[in-house]
């Protein structure tokens, strides 16, 4: 059965050959991650088993040999935003800092299946951000220019090229919001979010990291300005480093350590349709119409929009959301009116004033944050995890995340990504 001694040892490999062997023998697969007793102390505790917490733990173990780490989550692996997002991966942001950072993450995603030995199904379908006004054409061009200077593939294309990429799109001038062009970002695409979460969890576990689901952090203990551990629904843990990776709940958790974050949590909704045969290859975003859409390999259309306008911790879907969504989707692709919405859901987004994340140290020594991921943080998981792990292990803030520190809000060094992050995710 369970091989608890596996920690540190090589995990069972996944491959066509192992799948074949398993098919013949019907032996149980090894457990993806262990269920072990929680210990009283670790070298580091990561709060939140979303992509950020799991990636941080994984890179701590893999890049820095720090396996004595616990990831605790009040729910299950990937139960937060990381299992609820619409899984768009792209790096065509607006600020040079942003572009560089997300580009690093996209590159890590490119090799992630092999790194984790878990197929995360990254499909680089191409990403189109439609422009319906000359103001947005200007912003698209701005983004394209910054992207190109940073070495990221990105260009402004016209309505005819849009039509070629998305034959279902109404690119006529008769619509209410005619399509004037689009920012085309060929490396952008979609990924299987759960696979990323599970893949990181499994790989981290195999390197000794412990994952404790159903373990809620209820307090963070400090002593003379230093973090000393956390209290949880399953007992206290001491640790010299505590990393807050709780996204929508981040400001609540930070408050436990006495740290105030400039974050407001808003719900963000999404929906999927019943499957139909593949007809939409690219990921399509329209900022003016507040909607984006992609088609999964299973044939479902996945829709998203902008965040709900009010702050809330509720994760219920609303009827208005699907009504508006449908109106806007049909504005873009009028011929799919017969497709049906199958399911809708919501997740929580931790929104910062400049639509950029907060990563790094806080006024409490040893209490680190990797939060403020708003509507766009899934794609950032690998790069953020890698950088946070480096910070934990070396005590030094890596250059790649220096611009995203908490102190920027007091020192007015904001990283303005509103123009590229709002609906685009």
């Amino acid at each position: 059965m369970r091989r608890a001694t596996r920690a540190g040892g090589a995990p069972q490999r996944y491959s066509a050959a192992s799948l074949f062997r398993h098919g013949l023998t019907h032996e149980d697969w090894e457990r993806v991650w262990r269920t072990v007793e929680m210990r009283r102390s670790y070298d580091a505790v990561v709060i939140g088993a979303g992509v950020h917490g799991l990636a941080t733990a994984y890179y701590l173990a893999s890049n820095h040999g720090m396996g004595n780490v616990a990831v605790v989550d009040k729910g299950y692996v990937g139960g937060g935003g990381s299992g609820r997002n619409t899984a768009i991966i792209r790096s065509n942001y607006l600020t040079p800092e942003g572009v560089r950072f997300y580009d690093r993450s996209t590159r890590l995603y490119e090799n992630l299946s092999a790194t984790l030995n878990f197929n995360v199904m990254f499909a680089r379908r191409g990403h189109l951000t439609l422009a319906h006004t000359d103001a947005s054409v200007r912003t698209m061009r701005w983004r394209a220019e910054v992207n190109k200077l940073e070495g990221v593939e990105s260009e402004v294309i016209g309505p005819d090229e849009v039509k070629e990429l998305v034959p279902f799109m109404d690119t006529s001038t008769k619509t209410r919001y005619p399509i004037l062009g689009a920012l085309y970002h060929p490396p952008g695409g979609i990924i299987r979010h759960d696979a990323v979460n599970w893949g990181y969890a499994r790989a981290a576990d195999s390197l000794g990291v412990e994952i404790h689901q159903g373990t809620e952090v209820t307090g963070i203990s400090t002593d003379r300005g230093r973090v000393t551990g956390v209290t949880t629904s399953r007992g206290a843990i001491s640790a010299p480093v505590v990393v807050n990776c709780t996204a929508g709940w981040a400001s609540l958790v930070a408050t436990m350590a006495g740290v105030r974050l400039p974050i407001i949590t808003h719900p963000l909704q999404a929906a999927v349709t019943e499957p139909v045969k593949m007809f939409l290859h690219a990921v399509v975003v329209s900022g003016s119409l507040h909607v984006y859409v992609s088609q999964t390999d299973r044939g479902e259309l996945v829709f998203g929009a902008s965040t709900d306008p009010y702050a809330s911790y509720s994760m219920r879907g609303s009827l208005e959301f699907t009504e508006e969504l449908a109106t806007h989707v049909l504005e873009l692709m009028p011929s799919i009116s017969k497709m049906r919405v199958l399911r809708q859901w919501a997740g929580l987004c931790d929104i910062t004033p400049d639509f950029s994340p907060i990563m790094g140290v806080t006024p409490v020594d040893g209490f680190l944050v990797d939060v403020g991921w708003g509507t766009y943080g899934f794609k950032a998981g690998p790069a953020a995890g890698e950088a946070m792990a480096e910070l934990v292990a070396t005590g030094k803030t890596p250059e790649s995340i220096a611009a995203f520190d908490l102190a920027r809000f007091e020192e007015a060094r904001l990283v303005g990504e509103r123009g590229a992050a709002a609906v685009g995710h």
Partner: protein, 942 residues
């Protein structure tokens, strides 16, 4: 003749049996349609699947992964194997959709055909491609994943959409009933009656094509009871019945969404009902049993068999085995015999008898029982228990709890006062008991809806009957029919560590298909409980989520009603071939053919531009000056009546928010103008401050943007033109100077506002006239100016002229980080004011320095117009600014730009590198002034 022979004779409707008492088909009305191109016959009242089953078809689709043949399972809307393509409509529920003449029905998910299915090779490979197999393979080499992906996409389930399908006709309706009853079975009908009798207006919603629920396919006594209930419902004047309509969800405030499908000429209508009370009466869903071969065509639920027999007079098979754990199973066996189907064996689960596996090539031919015996048959009916569809209760906050004795999840006790439940989801009983419970619940609903005290209503008790817990036999079988997930997949995934309901369903995709768990959840939970050694209660279930049935995008969108804003002068613009431009909510003229000529008209003569989209807010009250002083960065406490002032607004983060002029029209009366795109945001901004921070200030704000038509009259001859149409205002430069406002009569239209300002840099008057007179004033001005060479100009000419003057456009020449200092308006910001929005941040900005500056750039090559958004770079290609505005200036005969640049570049004469989108670099110099044309502003003060 044997039953089988009798049944099989008489093609083409070989399984159609003689008349049944409750049948819903009209045998006098035959209907023809096609199935995969072949002609088929049916009767009115047939569903697609009942008609096909009557003609002897047994396979309607292939399963998603293993491409196993699939037949009828439930014979209801949720039948997983019966989705078909109808014309250009994908995923039509064939067991629900009624056949119509000429309908073109094709099978989905069959490649290359229903009979010959190449993909069924997957079946042989089945042992290797268990749930989640794709996570474990196709890992390397990664560059091949797109190829694998294409193969997987081939197997995607579902029908087809086509790019030339018309949008279709959809509609919405708002309703305000006292009580909505969701579900038109006996309890729901009785609830509607009870509520109506107590004085409520009721909306009774039934998913099927007629009222009655399970009574429709029940015994003669049940049919008689139904007839009586129907009579009563029809006789009641207070019940609106919606059939073929589904309550898809309940949202906050009892906001009930109903998908109505029974209307002529409208494909679907979304009814949104604000119900005072909702009564959930959705009945029970029969659940499938898990055993080897349980998905073979010929294996179906007892309710499916009874529906086929009694509603559509179709024999579900010729020789049957019935697995029965309840009365429904027994009744099915009786109905089958009665209809002439040979019942080979009744397997009584209550006595411990079992079905172990079903076999057959393509469809059922043999059943193996618990004692090892084998019975040959082409129909296996299972009656092993029920699921309570608790969606409406769950979304109201109630959590289902597992009732061990009844072997099903039942409602908890967490319902709010405006949601009640009756019928099968509450408990079991004979028709009379259900009706009695329903009626009392309906009465209670009415009492609550009409805000009476309701104490007089006692609701009789109704509780779930004991039932054996039957989920899985000794063998493994399909749990999720749409997703093709077997109990073996689930056990294996649970052992692998995906051992909570949430993880298991995400990993295997069980319950994620079209039925969204209605048939699958309970068995998933039961198998997981078994695999982990926990009880079902400990394992827990997932909550039901809306929508109850998938809702078309068309119905959600309704009619296409995207509003457009046009100014009152639009007919003139159209008549004069204006090129339109979409500007937010507005569509307005970009130009009338030649922007450069339009510029010359203004610079040399006089031009009119339609600026109606400019935001206009009427502000009244003694505290308006305080408000203005707070909103703008400059000082506003002293502004004489008759004067206007330019102001810049910043957000609390010091970022430039909007700009415009505000005029003091009279005692306690101001008119504020905002940018066109910022009109709504500024109105919200003001409202927000007044309501949250300054509730004691006396200010009344009224958005007037569309109440006025706005015209800017600009050019050296504008005073002359104005003097011809304005009678009651002294227009002399001394009496009506630059930055002043007057109210008066224009072209005999009284109540107009005119102010002297100049975005174009020319002497100009901005006129705000009552919208209804806009077109008249516009045409009159043009007529009056004919001999002055008066013309019109569009947005483009205005943009050129303002660029020549170096006037910024907020959000084009500023961005989400541009704070107040550095945009050429430093002198405006008065940090010595007591407080104003953004003050703190602006103080910090000044202290900190280092911010970008807005400068005018002149390309060294005057003929090069760098596209807007071109980046300004250093030698090592780092970005140090960008061109925000750029045009060829007709007045100067050269290119001019505005740019936001890093502070070290913001020096007159500094030479910078502009990187163009085509990859080339050009040089440009920072100009001394933002304005390139008439920097002293003499023309506009003329």
């Amino acid at each position: 003749m044997s039953t089988a022979k009798r049944l099989l004779s008489g093609r083409p409707t070989k399984m159609r049996i003689t008349s049944r008492p409750g049948e819903v088909i009209d045998r006098s009305k035959p209907v023809r349609f096609t199935w995969n191109g072949r002609e088929k016959s049916a009767f009115e009242g047939d569903t697609i699947i009942s008609a096909l089953a009557a003609s002897g078809e047994r396979v309607f689709s292939r399963s998603f992964k293993y491409h196993r043949p699939r037949g009828i399972l439930t014979a209801t809307f949720h039948d997983p194997g019966c989705s078909v393509q109808v014309g250009d409509e994908p995923n039509v529920r064939g067991s629900h959709r009624l056949v119509t003449a000429g309908m073109k029905v094709t099978a989905q998910n069959v490649w290359p055909s229903l009979k010959l299915d190449v993909a069924s090779a997957n079946r042989a490979a089945g042992r290797f491609i268990g749930a989640g197999f794709y996570y474990k393979t196709f890992i390397k080499p990664e560059r091949l994943w797109p190829t694998y992906e294409k193969v997987l996409q081939r197997f995607a389930p579902g029908g087809r959409v086509s790019a030339d399908s018309p949008h279709g006709s959809y509609d919405k309706r708002y309703a305000h009933p006292d009580v909505v009853v969701a579900g038109g079975g006996p309890a729901g009908m009785a609830a509607a009656l009870g509520a109506a009798e107590a004085g409520a207006r009721v909306m009774l919603v039934e998913e099927e094509h007629s009222l009655g629920g399970h009574l429709r396919y029940g015994s003669e006594t049940e049919l008689a009871a139904l007839a009586e209930l129907r009579r009563e419902v029809e006789a009641s004047g207070a019940i609106e019945v919606l059939v073929n309509s589904a309550v898809t969800g309940r949202y906050d405030g009892n906001w009930i969404a109903i998908l109505q499908r029974n209307l002529p000429h409208v494909t679907e209508r979304l009814v949104k009902a604000r119900a005072k009370v909702v009564v959930a009466a959705p009945g029970l869903i029969e659940r499938p049993y898990v055993f080897e071969g349980n998905d073979l065509p010929g294996v179906m639920l007892s309710t499916a068999a009874r529906r086929l027999l009694n509603l559509w007079a179709v024999a579900p098979g010729t020789r049957a085995v019935v697995l029965s754990a309840n009365e429904e199973g027994d009744a099915t066996a009786a109905d089958l015999s009665d209809a002439g189907v040979h019942v080979a064996q009744v397997v009584d689960a209550r006595r411990g008898e079992q079905v172990v596996r079903a076999r057959g090539a393509g469809s059922l031919s043999e059943v193996e029982l618990g004692d090892g015996s084998k019975v040959s048959c082409d129909l296996l009916v299972t009656a092993v228990g029920w699921t309570a569809p608790t969606l409406l209760l769950n979304v109201a906050g109630d959590r289902p709890v597992y009732d061990e004795r009844a072997a099903r999840f039942v409602p908890g006790d967490g319902l709010p006062a405006n949601v009640l439940a009756t019928g099968g989801i509450v408990g079991d009983g004979p028709t009379a008991a259900l009706v009695e419970h329903g009626r009392a619940t309906g009465r209670a609903a009415a009492e609550r809806a009409l805000a009476r005290d309701g104490t007089s209503v006692t609701i009789p008790s109704l509780s779930p009957a004991p039932h054996p817990a039957l989920y899985r036999s000794r063998t493994h079988g399909i749990v999720d029919f749409s997703e093709d997930i077997s109990s073996k997949d689930l056990v294996s995934a649970a052992r692998e560590g995906y051992d909570s309901v949430e993880l298991l369903k995400r990993y295997t995709t069980a319950t994620m298909g079209p039925a969204q768990g209605k048939l699958e959840t309970i068995n998933t939970v039961a198998v997981l409980a078994e695999a982990t050694g926990r009880s079902i209660a400990e394992t827990g279930t997932t909550v039901w989520r809306p929508p109850h049935v998938p809702v078309s995008l068309g119905a959600l969108a309704g009619r296409v009603l995207e509003p457009v804003r046009y100014s009152p002068m639009q007919p003139w613009h159209e008549a004069h071939r204006a090129t339109p431009i979409v500007a937010g909510q507005w569509i307005r003229p970009e130009h009338y053919g030649d922007p450069a000529r339009e510029v010359r008209t203004v610079r040399e003569h006089v031009g009119l531009i339609d600026v109606t989209p400019l935001g206009k807010l009427d502000l009244r009250g003694p505290d308006v000056p305080k408000l203005l002083n707070f909103l703008y960065v400059n000082k506003w406490l002293k502004l004489d009546i008759g004067s206007v002032r330019y102001g810049l607004m910043c957000g609390e983060d010091g970022v430039v928010l909007d700009d415009g002029v505000t005029g003091h029209l009279g005692e306690d009366h101001y008119l504020m103008s905002t940018t066109s795109s910022g009109a709504d945001a500024v109105a919200h901004w003001i409202e927000n401050w007044l309501q949250t921070t300054f509730p004691d200030w006396q200010v009344y704000m009224t958005p007037m943007t569309t109440a006025y038509a706005s015209i800017n009259v600009a050019g050296p001859k504008s005073r002359e033109l104005m003097s011809r149409v304005v009678s009651d205002v002294d227009l002399s430069p001394e009496a009506f100077a630059y930055m002043q406002v007057r109210r008066g009569t224009i072209c005999s239209v009284p109540g107009c506002v005119m102010w002297r300002i100049g975005f174009t840099g020319e002497l100009s008057y901005e006129l705000h006239v009552p919208a209804g007179y806009g077109l008249y004033v516009w045409e009159s001005l043009l007529a009056a100016g004919e001999d002055l060479s008066a013309g019109v100009f569009g947005l483009e000419a205005q943009r050129i002229m303002r660029l020549e003057k170096g006037h910024l456009i907020v959000s084009q020449d500023t961005d989400g980080l541009t704070q107040g200092y550095g945009v050429g308006l430093d002198g405006l910001i008065k940090l010595d004011k007591e407080d104003f929005a953004g003050k703190q941040e602006l103080e910090w900005q000044l202290e900190r320095q280092g911010y970008n500056h807005l400068v005018a750039l002149l390309p060294d090559d005057a003929s090069v117009v760098p596209p807007e958004a071109s980046q300004i770079v250093t030698g090592d290609r780092s970005i140090v600014g960008r061109v925000t505005s750029s045009r060829l200036s007709p007045s100067l005969g050269r290119s001019i730009c505005l740019a936001l640049v890093a502070p070290q570049l913001a020096e007159t004469g500094k030479s910078v590198t502009v990187h163009l989108p085509d990859g080339t670099d050009v040089r440009a110099k920072v100009s001394e002034e933002l304005a390139q044309f008439d920097p002293g502003g003499e023309r506009l003060r003329a």
